[in-house]
């Protein structure tokens, strides 16, 4: 167990100076007459700006039609419009020094972009064109579908992907969140018309949020946004909620067999909460003490003390409807059981013994300090603003977060750990060579065996 050697303390450490206050920039909000929500913030560090045009619908909303359909739609969106062919789009982006990507997660589709402030309007113009006039050229669609086929084959050779895919299936079952990626057959069955339907339904101003952060004058930029996006029209799509996810009880092992693997990827998880939940900040702090920071208990234990792994981590993964807590580590094959023992030991300890005050204070400092780093860069700020906007968090979320973190007590953490670090019901995925790890894994629960294609073997 932990503390195989005494931890010494540092001597002569300079005290912290008094803190400079953290001031978040003023946000300018507007809703255009067509329903498009616009949020802007100025950040003048470099003569550039960053933006995201989000739509509040992603892969989950069309999972019943085909997994990954919103992602495929977003991929093909950038390959042609009624006015510009693929090559023209790429060259025009380069001409104004811009980067652009389009993609979709479980709950959103997005066009993300960054460029020089001096070319803000042409970049917004191109984003607008992609959002409204994508033409889904046949040849581009066929090429991207073929690319996607190779991608889905490749991801089945990545231990991290295999672990994540299995855990999501176990935790979410038939709910759309249970499906992280399409199969080869599903990709082969994608039709251009399906993409166009997704595009027509999702990419509308009523369903959208435009976020812009950077070196501009907010009033001027808002005028540009209005000029570019103002005459667009479209309704919010009607979405049906998915099937309720399962609630797996008791620990169970899911072994994904990768012959010849020289390391084992561990990923264990349980249901938790979304960002809107009142316990979010408490769970964030509990996670950072457990395995969410370099200085966390789990990292100190299985990395710095025992050397089982390079990269242990825990996290709270929040999607719009549900969230889950997970812990991961890629470990040496002969210490799978030993690593799991420590993973549960640290979880159980947080569930049974109040965190000492000094350790709590350290973790509070960590979380509130790191939170403020979002202020220092344009894309850091953008990411904070998009978290607030997409999760419909209160307007003062950024301003009050640090106070909320600092107000928490050892008792809060104890009850939070008991509630969400659900040690007894953790679902444990291990990806590795069966011969070397099955016996060790069997010590922690009944083992279900899968191959890398996702098929159950026993």
């Amino acid at each position: 167990m932990m503390a195989t050697r005494a931890v010494e303390v540092a001597t002569g450490v300079p005290a912290l100076a008094s803190e400079r206050s953290v001031t978040w920039p003023r946000r300018t909000r507007a809703r255009l007459s067509n329903g498009l929500e616009v949020i802007l913030a100025e950040a003048h560090s470099i003569p550039k700006f960053h933006g995201e045009l989000f739509f509040r619908s992603g892969n989950a909303a069309v999972a019943a039609r085909a997994p990954g359909l919103a992602e495929m739609t977003a991929t093909v969106v950038r390959t042609g419009t009624t006015r510009r062919a693929s090559r023209q789009i790429e060259e025009d982006l380069r001409r104004i020094g811009a980067d652009l990507s389009s993609g979709a997660g479980a709950d959103t589709s997005a066009i993300s972009f960054a460029g020089l402030s001096e070319f803000a309007e042409p970049l917004l113009g191109l984003v607008n064109e992609l959002a409204r006039e994508a033409s889904f050229p046949d040849g581009e669609f066929e090429r991207e579908r073929r690319q996607k086929l190779e991608e889905v084959k490749l991801e089945r050779t990545q231990p991290g992907f295999l672990a994540g895919e299995r855990l999501r299936k176990v935790l979410f079952g038939a709910h759309p969140y249970g499906q992280v990626s399409p199969s080869e057959e599903q990709v082969a069955a994608y039709k251009r018309e399906d993409l166009q339907t997704v595009y027509r339904d999702f990419y509308t101003p009523e369903n959208g949020i435009l976020l812009l952060v950077g070196d501009f004058d907010s009033n001027e930029m808002l005028k540009s946004a209005e000029k570019v996006f103002g005459n667009w029209a479209g309704k919010k799509p009607d979405l049906k909620p998915g099937a309720a996810p399962p609630n797996p009880r008791g620990r169970r092992i899911y072994l994904v067999h990768v012959p010849g693997a020289v390391q084992t990827q561990i990923l264990a998880g349980c249901h938790a909460i979304t960002r809107k939940h009142p316990d979010w900040v408490k769970l964030g702090l509990t996670n950072s003490l457990y395995g969410g920071a370099f200085n966390s208990r789990l990292v100190m234990n299985i990395r710095e003390d025992k050397g089982y792994t390079y990269s242990p981590r825990s996290g709270v993964n929040a999607m719009r409807q549900y969230g889950y807590f997970s812990v991961s580590a890629a470990v040496r094959n002969d210490v799978v059981a030993a690593s799991l023992t420590e993973i549960f030991y640290e979880m159980d300890k947080l569930r049974s013994v109040p965190v000492p005050e000094p350790e709590l204070a350290d973790a509070q400092n960590y979380l509130s300090g790191v939170f403020s780093m979002g202020l220092a860069t344009q894309d850091g700020l953008l990411s904070q603003l998009s978290t607030v906007a997409l999760n419909e968090l209160p307007d003062d979320y950024l301003e009050t977060y640090r106070q909320k973190v600092r107000a928490l007590t050892p008792q809060d953490l104890l009850s939070t750990a008991r509630k969400y670090l659900d040690s007894a019901n953790m679902q444990i995925v291990i990806v590795g060579d069966r011969e070397q790890i099955e016996e060790q894994a069997g010590l922690f629960g009944e083992v279900e065996l899968y191959d890398a294609q996702g098929a159950r073997q026993s």
Binding site: E8, K48, R87, P159, G307, Y310, V331, Y366
Partner: protein, 437 residues
């Protein structure tokens, strides 16, 4: 055209430590870095991977901050930290709320003054590093391709050609005496630069640098082995097995000119023409148009930060129905085109705008999204250690903006030659087993 001007103050302490400050009070955050001018290129022979293993040891304890205290003190001040080893430098850095600046400087000075580690620490980090190699290389499809596969094929001098992550036998052979010797030789103030960026005033930063670092004694000037390569006069080829992936892959690398020459500027823009994302010629030709490849990208690794032989490398994963030869032919056609026809005035104009935009992004650039000003720190450090001229950050763009079409075509003809390149094929064992069946 709006040009970014970074305010920079720099000085050198009596013990030879360079100090560079770039104040910016936008956010109450300061990024601190120390760069030592030693990377994996010049680590000792028989000790492959040692520079990186040593980097891990720098987090294991110093005279007044024992094991686990470095990490604890940075995190509990509200900050993040890391280190990294590259060809010619090793860095250690922290981003913290600015009220923790003095504490961070104390920590960095403490480990520059005296590392305090034992055998148990070394064994622990050797185990951690092996798992790092497994998770990034040995247990990943295309792990280490081509950054670890290319050097032994492309280069003849051990300094450039060895396994930078380390053969496990060499990692096992490393002992505490090696750690102390490496520390004493290279981790001296006269082989380092201290950087502070963000919420710090220049005079305050310099005063603090003196307070914490001035009494660290200078060491003997570190001896540097000669990393130069014999002139390459023939194409070189090698093969590596791919254990997990099913797509055949290849990487083609061309020897680069010296840093900070006119050719270097031309090659940087040529790199942008070839590898600049989806508009780049390699992606456009091989992925979008001919549709032979699933991935075709790459470029010059760490343009500003290399200080010895390096390459511009293209990495290609291609569809199995195309042979390696057919794929290489398509690649060669793209190279031939730029050698014979150069690039248009319009393309060059686009490249320059994109280059400037990317440069600004680099300066602000976080690393993995959590390290403000990492890119600026890296450039200032390299321009200080290699050029003794941190102000280059504000002027280096000029050389790239001045490149002409003629220079780009001349660079293509001079450097993109078969006898100046090396090719590594990474061949899936799964696909070849199927073909044989």
């Amino acid at each position: 055209m709006k040009r970014l001007q970074i305010g920079i103050e720099s000085t050198k302490l009596a013990n030879g430590l360079h100090v560079v400050i770039a104040p910016d009070s936008t956010a109450p955050v300061v990024t601190v870095g120390i760069y030592y001018k030693i990377g994996f290129r010049l680590e000792p022979q028989g000790r492959s991977g040692f520079a990186h293993l040593f980097e891990h040891m720098m987090f294991q304890g110093s005279a007044n901050a024992p094991k686990m205290q470095h990490i604890k003190l940075v995190n509990s001040s509200g900050g993040v930290l890391n280190g990294s080893t590259s060809y010619d430098v090793t860095n250690y850095y922290e981003a913290v709320p600015s009220n923790a600046l003095e504490r961070i400087l104390w920590l960095e000075a403490d480990r520059m003054r005296a590392l305090k580690v034992d055998d148990e620490n070394l064994k622990n980090q050797r185990d951690v590093v092996k798992e790092e190699v497994r998770v990034n290389v040995m247990n990943q499809p295309y792990g280490g391709f081509p950054w670890l596969d290319m050097p032994p094929v492309a280069f003849r001098n051990w300094a450039n050609a060895h396994n930078f992550y380390g053969d496990f036998a060499d990692l096992d052979a490393a002992d505490l005496a090696d750690v102390q010797a490496f520390f004493n030789t290279y981790y001296v103030p006269n082989n380092a630069v201290l950087l502070m960026l963000g919420d710090v005033k220049a005079e305050e930063g310099i005063a603090l640098a003196k307070k914490y670092f001035a009494d660290i004694p200078a060491g003997a000037p570190p001896p540097f082995a000669d990393p130069s390569e014999p002139e390459q006069v023939e194409e070189r080829r090698g093969n590596v097995e791919e254990k997990f992936g099913t797509l055949p892959a290849m990487a083609i690398g061309y020897v680069m000119p010296q840093r900070r020459t006119a050719d270097w500027c031309a090659m940087a823009l040529l790199d942008q023409a070839l590898h600049g994302g989806r508009a780049g010629r390699m992606h456009r030709e091989l992925v979008l148009e001919k549709q032979i490849a699933v991935e075709a990208g790459g470029g010059i690794d760490d343009l500003f930060g290399y200080n010895g032989p390096t390459q511009m490398t293209t990495r290609i994963l291609h569809k199995p129905e195309y042979s390696s030869q057919a794929t290489l032919d398509a690649f060669d056609a793209a190279i031939r085109d730029v050698r014979e026809n150069g690039i248009s005035a319009d393309e060059l104009e686009q490249l320059k705008v994109k280059w400037r935009s990317d440069y600004y992004a680099t300066l602000e650039g976080g690393r993995g999204g959590y390290m403000p000003k990492y890119g600026l720190m890296h450039l200032l450090a390299c321009f200080t250690l290699f050029d003794d001229e941190p102000q280059l950050v504000n002027t280096i763009l000029d050389g790239f903006i001045a490149v002409t079409r003629e220079e780009i075509q001349a660079a293509a003809r001079k450097y993109l030659r078969n006898e100046k390149r090396a090719i590594v094929f990474r061949t899936p064992i799964q696909a070849s087993a199927k073909e044989a069946a």
